[in-house]
C-alpha cells in the first residue's frame, strides 16, 4: 500500500509498504531516516520514540497505515534546520556536554522524550524527569548523566523558545 505522511516537516510518499510493518520500519528502511533505533520491537526500550501528531510514541508499535496523513517528527527533526551540519537542539547539546551519550543506541529516544518533557514542563523536578524517561532504557550510562543532561537542557532552554 502507499503511505503519505509528513516527516520532519516534509511530505513523504512511500509505495509498496507491507500492511503489517511498523512506522519504525518505514522510517528507517523506506525513508532513509535511521535516527530512530530498532531495538526491542515491543515498546519496552523507547529507542524508537518519535512524535506522532505531537505526542511521543514508540514507532515500533504504530502500524505503518496508522501514520497515513499524520505528522511525524523524529530525532532528525528536533534541531532547527539552518543548513549547518552540526545544528543541534539545546537538548542534544546538553546530552553531549554532560556525557549522556555512550553507545548512542538509546539516545534518539531519550532526546525525543526529554524534548517532550521540557516542552510540557520547562522546570521538571527530579521525580518528574525520572517518570518522563521511564520508558527509555539505557544500558551504558547508569542514567545519572542523562538526568544531568535534562537538568542542563532545562537551564539552556530557560527563557529561550523550545
Amino acid at each position: 500500500m502507499r503511505i503519505t505522511t509528513t516527516v520532519n516537516g516534509d511530505r513523504q510518499d512511500v509505495d509498496d509498504v507491507w500492511e503489517g510493518e511498523s512506522l519504525l520500519y518505514v522510517l528507517r528502511e523506506r525513508m532513509g531516516l535511521p535516527g530512530s533505533k530498532n531495538a526491542c520491537e515491543q515498546g519496552e526500550c523507547g529507542s524508537c520514540t518519535v512524535y506522532l501528531d505531537g505526542t511521543p510514541v514508540c514507532a515500533c508499535l504504530v502500524a505503518a497505515g496508522q501514520a497515513q496523513g499524520r505528522d511525524v517528527v523524529t530525532v532528525e527533526g528536533l534541531a532547527p534546520d539552518t543548513g549547518q551540519h552540526d545544528d543541534l537542539h539545546p537538548v542534544q547539546q546538553a546530552f553531549l556536554e554532560c556525557g549522556a551519550v555512550q553507545c548512542g543506541f538509546c539516545t534518539p529516544g531519550l532526546l525525543v522524550a526529554s524534548h517532550d518533557l521540557l516542552r510540557r514542563n520547562p522546570h521538571p523536578s527530579d521525580p518528574e524527569i525520572r517518570e518522563a524517561l521511564a520508558g527509555n532504557l539505557c544500558r551504558c550510562t547508569g542514567y545519572e548523566k542523562i538526568l544531568d543532561a535534562v537538568r542542563v537542557a532545562a537551564d539552556k532552554l530557560d527563557g529561550a523558545p523550545a
Binding site: E19, G43, L61, Q66, A113, G135
Partner: protein, 293 residues
Amino acid sequence: MDFLRPTSWAEALEAKAAHPGAVPIAGGTDVMVELNFDRHRPEALLDLNQVTELQQWAEDGTRIRLGAGVTYTRIIEELGDPLPGLAMASRTVGSPQIRNRGTVAGNLGAASPAGDAHPPLLATGAEIRVASTRGTRTLRAEDFYTGVKRNALEPDELIEAVVLEKAKGPQQFAKIGTRNAMVISVAAFAIALDPEAGTVGTGIGSAAPTPRRARDAETFLAGELAAHGLWETRGAIPDSLTREFGERVRRAASPIDDVRGTAAYRLHSLAVMARRTLGWAWADLQNDQRKAS
C-alpha cells in the same frame, strides 16, 4: 494482509462483519508486538484510530461513557476525579509512550489476566458495550473475561465503550512489579467503597486465568462494616477484620507459578495488597468526613 481504515463507527462495524478475522488495532501496544515477532499474521488489520466516535468520553448522568479509543494518558489527565481507581491503574501502565497510545478497550480485547485496567473495572462494576452490524449489547466486566486471553466478543463484534459509575467513595489500586515502569504485574488488586450503599467492590489481576472479583471478601467486609456501624461512624477498622478481608481475597485467587512470580508469592502479596488498599481507602473516607465537618 489487508489494512482497513474505517472513518466512522458504522464503517468499522461493516468492515468487521465483512472481515471477521481482521484484528482491531488502536494503540498497537499489544497487536504490533505480535506482528513484529511474527507470532501472528492476521488476514487484516482494522485501524480504529480514524473512528472519531471512539476517541471521546462523555458524562451520562451518574456515569462516564469511556470511548474505546481513549488513551490511558487522557484517563490520567482528564478522569482522575470521577474514576480514581481506573486513573490510578492507568498510571502504572507501561511508560509514557505506551500510555499515550494504549487504551482500556485494548486491555479488554487482549484479555490478558495481567491487564492493569481489569481490577478497577471489576471493583467498580463497569460495563462493556460491544457492537456489531447485528446490534449492541452490554456485558458486565466480570462476564467479559472468559479465559486466558479470551473474551466474550463474537467474531463480528467490536468494543464500543466502557461505562463506569462516577466514584461514590474512595477507590484504590495496588500492583506488584519489579520496578515502577514497564512492568507486567505479578499481582494486582483494586478496591472501591460505596459508603452510601454500604458496598465493597474488588478486582484481582494476574492471579487467576482471568481477572476476577473476590465476592466472598466483598460481602464479608460490607456486612462486618455494617454490623459494627462503621459505615456511619467511619471509625477505625479492627485489625482482625482487615486481616480476614485479606485472607478472603487471597482465597479468591488461583494463581500459577510463572516467570514473573510464584503462586505462593502472588497469594501472599494479594492478602497484603487487600489489607493495605482497604486501609488507604478507609483513611480517604475518614479524611472526607473530617473535611466535611
